[in-house]
Symmetry: D2
Subunit: 121 residues, 4 copies
Amino acid sequence: MLIIKRRINFYDCDPAGILFYGNIFFFCHSAYEELVKSFQLEFDYWLNEEFIVPIIKSAADYLKPLKHGDELTIELSTTDIRESSFELNYKCSNQSGDVCAEVNTVHVLIDKKTWQKRANS
Amino acid sequence: MLIIKRRINFYDCDPAGILFYGNIFFFCHSAYEELVKSFQLEFDYWLNEEFIVPIIKSAADYLKPLKHGDELTIELSTTDIRESSFELNYKCSNQSGDVCAEVNTVHVLIDKKTWQKRANS
Amino acid sequence: MLIIKRRINFYDCDPAGILFYGNIFFFCHSAYEELVKSFQLEFDYWLNEEFIVPIIKSAADYLKPLKHGDELTIELSTTDIRESSFELNYKCSNQSGDVCAEVNTVHVLIDKKTWQKRANS
Amino acid sequence: MLIIKRRINFYDCDPAGILFYGNIFFFCHSAYEELVKSFQLEFDYWLNEEFIVPIIKSAADYLKPLKHGDELTIELSTTDIRESSFELNYKCSNQSGDVCAEVNTVHVLIDKKTWQKRANS
């Protein structure tokens, strides 16, 4: 598991004063990038000749509004690691410890040569 | 049903050259805004004293990559209209007619005075 | 000159209810992309082996606030086309014809082989 | 002066692999928000009945490209504080210490009752 903290900025929120629902995915991806960075891989995970790892599914539940100034804590955990795909779960809480959003993304490993699913090495 | 067309811009795409998955929700919300506009409501749906309509759930399937320059067609349809909530479905196709993403959002009507769910009028 | 029209979306605006100042550059770039498209170039202007055209300077004056629902008209004109650079000016008006923002960007043509400025062909 | 550090995320960059020029303003605003927070004001600077502080001018020089994974350091300094306006300067460097962008924003204090410029208190 990996935990990141981020501040909700003014520009992340809409005229209703709350985080625009689509913006939660940027915060979550930022956690995912930190996770990949923590692996200290010897190749460029994000841009290489061998494979790409597109997101094929996303789902989010918005339980409580996040507001400008809130300190967001995202707990990222990995589930369901299969041969050519994996899922990431993000629990997004505010500074009071309330879970405000739960996000899930499904990632699949695609071989750039064959454009087929590829086994994790 | 309502249909909008939008161009995928350079800045909507990431270094892999494809639409960043979180950006699809902005295009879909743009269609939702056109839908609300088409109702020619006599009150301000987006900002008023009576109610708000937060999104409590979103889900997306990414079937084919969308790329810079693609002409996106979004078909927005409404399903599952209940007393205090409704769902919107967005079928997102490219200029070849391929469905590239399917998105679903669940909206709930909240009374600003009681902070309870409120019946559609 | 090229003219585009765009709607200001809910998510483009901040909790003060007006277009976040940084978002104007996305609308302007969208006009720039339409301009390039209108040239019907035989090569890929945006991604090719020969050159890139980075923006080295931007400036904006915000004269009147733009709001959710406003219909934005952007008039794009080209000025100061020199051997290896050019400037774009964007006049951004609302549906009442008021000029709400004036934006200027400076673009420079860089040869990918030498990483020097390159003459326009 | 205030210093913040931010990572350039994958989604901040465009298909050319560099930070989209309009995205620098979001990073800079994030520094501005931290500055305001550091003042520990007893009122809500961002949303209140008395005044607003719109940005009326922005300017940016892009000196070197910022890339995915770069660690951005922003040094925010205040200049030219006048009765009803102030300017902010942001020096944006990468992890090698190279200044990659210099940004300037002009902010003006507007009285919400009279819609005139208002003296700083």
